[in-house]
Assembly symmetry: C2
Homo-oligomer: 628 residues x 2
């Protein structure tokens, strides 16, 4: 079980210094956190902790999921403080923590909605009411706060809440047999276990995961206790919450996509912590179903607006794609955990795909506006907003971005595994001494990556380097000398095991030509269509870069794709240009139907990275284009 | 203004004797009328005339548009009786007429909804409540009843209603300035004028048409009188009822498609009756907008479910097409009237397209189940129903089918113009004596048509023969001799002016190869797709005729299309067969995305007429197919 010992290198040990992610982290710090905080204030989410709402008050009535928005912002703010000191932000964090703590009950309970609106109904509707979900996010925030400030008061308070939940739920006498309708607390409890060493939290997470979907069926019992007909469930199916059957009997990814990702992530945590082979097998099956049938090219998941989630295999419409930002973030979490179960680059490939495309499209380049929904085509009406009434995505971006460094490396006692290529400086504590890895690269615009080892003395360790799944041809050099093609390669990683000298430099050349991608013929939405990628970046065409309306353009298979870097465009992006064909509307004339197809004329086209779309004036956008 | 003298030859003068329409008329008689009548009974639409609903009663509450369903059925039943005696049906008609008449008020008013549910609110919501629309249909039914039975009691009663309406509405002192929110009464009033000679009815129709959309704006005044905010109008725009501006200022077809068709049809009636050149110009503009931008290949119109109507130009999605059956019927009415304004085959082409495709798809081959919505693609879930809660379409089919013979010919004093080719026997009364035209043809499966003139003595008249718009090559023979290519051809009609001898026979050969059709490049839904036609018939592929799932099929441009007639299929239909390409799912393997497009294999395909789809087990269907 050697692989399972791999541990992610915490983001605080990886200083991002590149031209791609660093500006996004800065924008999140300088714009994103502020804009979201303003909205938390404006909408009443923060004053909710004053607990002075009443039916007669003019204050906005708290909502059952508001805590999660506040908690995710707080978690993001704390992570940001760990990367970058900021006294103003720290002050705001501390005052918010005070306000939250003032709303906690004597018994540890914390939830303004239930405290002031329905105090008699605590824990009576786990299926719909997000109570445990909110608790989970608040626990994660408290851990982040402790890490960022060293102050234990928030963490201790949330432990008291976790303890209350631990006393309330479980298989014991007098305990509720319930589990969350919206998963999340499972991830939080594993994190709390890691952070505190208290095994009860891990056990509670395991309880929540394994109780799920068992008989007698809890959500139905609970509904009957509320004097509701379980058959009148608004979501129609318990697959919506992945509780249609016990998780170990689940074989396909179904239901609400964010819930699914958080559940599968927690299952992966448990599979790892508890060396649970059965859970691993279940997870591999679920993963295969996702990546083979239900994954957008961008790494977006969850096709349908209706259930915010999954639909049948190959149902991947473009303009109607839901592909919630939170779901892509959830996929990153799950993929990262699968990676630490298997150390197989297939998981890192999906993680990278989601990060560079479906996650990053969720926030404007300025960091101040967000997508909840990330379609792969638009008529120009889909635009980012500062906030949403259900506003889970903006603070989820807030908390993900500062931690990007945490996805780059994993370590064991004698191995460093490199998953992502981002210009950065990483400190890895090894037994003989600290190793600093300096990554220099223009990734994702260029496939050349130099990794220099800095340390005081020679050290033996294994450096594993992920060969990106998109890469057809790789060249590796050590201190300028090309390495032979037969160097060890396992699970998608090149393996360099040697005694490293200070200053040793590995040069990786991931050849990065633009390439075409085609989808499975059962994907009806992309029939005879092609998408363009270069490296991990999925490209799209925005109308304002083209000389003709987007729907007239066809991309001939034969045409060469020229890759450029345009410094002045969208903060500096790689573009792909070439000659497309455009249906000749003028030559067609006025008829609606004719016995001959339209003529085509050659027109230049330009593709921009998908993540960067909708940052200029509104216009149509397409990832998939008909091939001529 | 010679053309405007052309008058449609009434369907009672044209005996349909073919293998295509005759069985549909029989099915309508033997199944359609019965099934719809059962539903009228079952849903309370008929007992509504007993006027004994009250808030406390257990009877279904009458609905504002129920009368129209009953009236259309009655009209259809009367037309059917004119084609085919049926004592049972006649008895049912008479008893229904009695029941309806018992519900008429002293003043002539007839509307169970307003009579029993909101007696105080008569004529207070013309915008939404279908009162004049129902009156119009009832007037048409009464004319049909008089024609079928010779009995005047229903007609006289409805004249009293029309007189009441005439006294109520108009520009005079004390009259309401209103006009119908759902047009229809305009057509009925013109018909009533023709039937009775009473010019007041024509004038009232003209009033309704020209008052429409004028200022001060009636529907807003009316809303304010109901103490409603006109800005809170549920349909959001008065374009919904084509009353956003005076009709003479309208330039594009907008809003609810059935309303639009009935309005434009009435405008065409008035343009003809009143020799109104301005209206003709408006109508030509509207027609051009429809056929150039908003007409499905099938003759279906009205893209959107939202407004049951028109959307911007070229917005013609296939699976999401609304294309209500009633709208296609309305288009037949409008086209038929445009044809009698202009005697130009462009209008007959659209009429024929709608009749053979979008109208006929609205009813099952058995005549017993109906489509309200007629999409051009389906995943198999769209199926016909016996009835709908808003069930305008089934009885509209009931009343259209028996009159199909009325669209075949027009006559003037010395001209017979042939619009449609249907095996039939037509009696035309000319001054010197009756001319009987015997059409023999297998149209629409074959383009050969023989028309024999039977009469007692030689007669001079002009026989005009429409060259179908789909026909690229025509050959004409008179008594076996080929006619020269330079015979007079005007407005899309060949013109044969001669002294005809009894037994003279014209043989028309409209060469009818299967052909491909392409849509304007701005129609996003049909990019790189092709549709198949033969003669007036639009074809489609149904999944159950193909060896592979429908979405895998591509139709290569080069492949020849073989036309067959299959006696045992769908009651006998023409099919198109050939070799298509199918994406090779097996060769593709399990990956969701790959750098190369799928391979293709040759597979046979079979296309059936669009009108005949959804008559076997449910499955996917497509009119437009991607071209390889």
């Amino acid at each position: 079980m050697k692989n399972t010992k791999n541990t992610p290198l915490h983001f605080t040990n990886v200083r991002i210094q590149d031209a791609f992610w660093a500006p996004r982290l800065a924008a999140n710090r300088q714009q994103g956190l502020d804009r979201v905080y303003e909205q938390l204030q404006k909408t009443g989410r923060i004053e909710a902790y004053d607990l002075d709402w009443s039916p007669d008050s003019s204050r906005p009535k708290p909502h059952v999921f508001w805590d999660s928005d506040v908690a995710k912002w707080l978690e993001g703010a704390c992570y940001s403080l760990m990367n970058h000191q900021d006294q103003d932000l720290l002050g705001r964090v501390e005052s918010l923590v005070d306000r939250i703590l003032s709303a906690q009950g004597e018994d540890g309970y914390l939830n303004p909605y239930y405290t002031v609106v329905e105090p008699e109904n605590r824990w009576t509707n786990l299926r719909d009411r997000h109570e445990l979900y909110c608790a989970g996010h608040m626990i994660e925030a408290s851990i982040a706060h402790h890490q960022a400030t060293g102050d234990r008061r928030f963490l201790s308070a949330m432990r008291r809440y976790a303890d209350l939940i631990d006393r309330t739920f479980g298989p014991g006498k007098g305990q509720l047999r319930g589990y969350p309708g919206h998963q999340e607390i499972e991830l939080a409890l594993v994190k709390l276990y890691h952070h505190t060493g208290e095994k009860r939290y891990l056990n509670l997470a395991a309880y929540f995961v394994d109780a799920r979907g068992g008989h007698p069926y809890y959500f139905d019992q609970e509904a009957r206790q509320r004097r509701e007909d379980p058959a009148a469930y608004w979501a129609k199916t318990h697959a919506y919450t992945q509780s249609h059957r016990p998780v170990r009997e689940q074989e396909t990814v179904v239901g609400h996509a964010v819930r699914a990702m958080y559940l599968y992530g927690a299952m992966a945590d448990l599979a790892r912590e508890q060396r649970d082979r059965e859970l691993r097998v279940v997870l591999e099956k679920l993963w295969e179903d996702l990546v083979s049938h239900k994954l957008y090219l961008t790494g977006g998941i969850g096709t349908s607006r209706e259930n915010e989630g999954f639909t049948p295999s190959y149902h991947l419409p473009n303009q109607d794609a839901y592909a919630e930002t939170c779901a892509a973030i959830g996929l990153v979490f799950w993929a990262h955990r699968m990676l630490h179960l298997h150390m197989d680059s297939r998981y890192a490939d999906v993680m990278e795909r989601a990060l560079y495309n479906a996650v990053l499209s969720g926030v404007s380049l300025e960091g101040d506006r967000f997508f909840y929904v990330n379609p792969l085509a638009s008529d120009g009406t889909h635009q980012r907003q500062v906030f949403y009434s259900c506003s889970c995505c903006p603070p989820n971006i807030n908390r993900l971005l500062p931690t990007i460094g945490g996805f780059v490396y994993s370590t064991t006692g004698d191995e460093i595994t490199t998953h992502l290529y981002i210009q950065s400086e990483a400190r890895i504590e090894f037994d003989p001494g600290t190793v600093t890895l300096i990554q220099e690269t223009d990734y994702p615009w260029d496939g050349v990556v130099c990794i220099r080892c800095e340390m005081d003395v020679q050290q033996s360790f294994t450096l594993k380097l992920r060969k990106p799944g998109w890469c057809q041809e790789a060249r590796l050099y050590l201190n300028g000398d090309r390495l032979p093609d037969d160097i060890p390669f396992e699970g998608g990683y090149f393996r360099l095991e040697r005694r490293w000298k200070p200053g040793d430099e590995i040069r990786l050349q991931w050849l990065m030509p633009a390439h075409r991608v085609y989808a499975h013929p059962d994907v009806k939405a992309t029939v005879d269509s092609v998408a363009l990628m270069r490296g991990p970046i999925v490209y799209c065409l925005e109308a304002l870069d083209q000389p003709v309306p987007l729907h007239l353009i066809r991309l001939p298979r034969s045409v060469s794709l020229e890759s450029r870097f345009e410094t002045d465009l969208l903060g500096g992006v790689g573009t792909l240009v070439g000659k497309a064909l455009a249906a000749d509307v003028d030559a067609w004339g006025g008829a609606l139907y004719q016995p001959d197809p339209p003529d085509f004329v050659r027109v230049p086209f330009k593709a921009i990275p998908y993540y960067a779309w909708a940052n200029r004036e509104p216009g149509a956008m397409r990832v998939w284009l008909p091939e001529a």
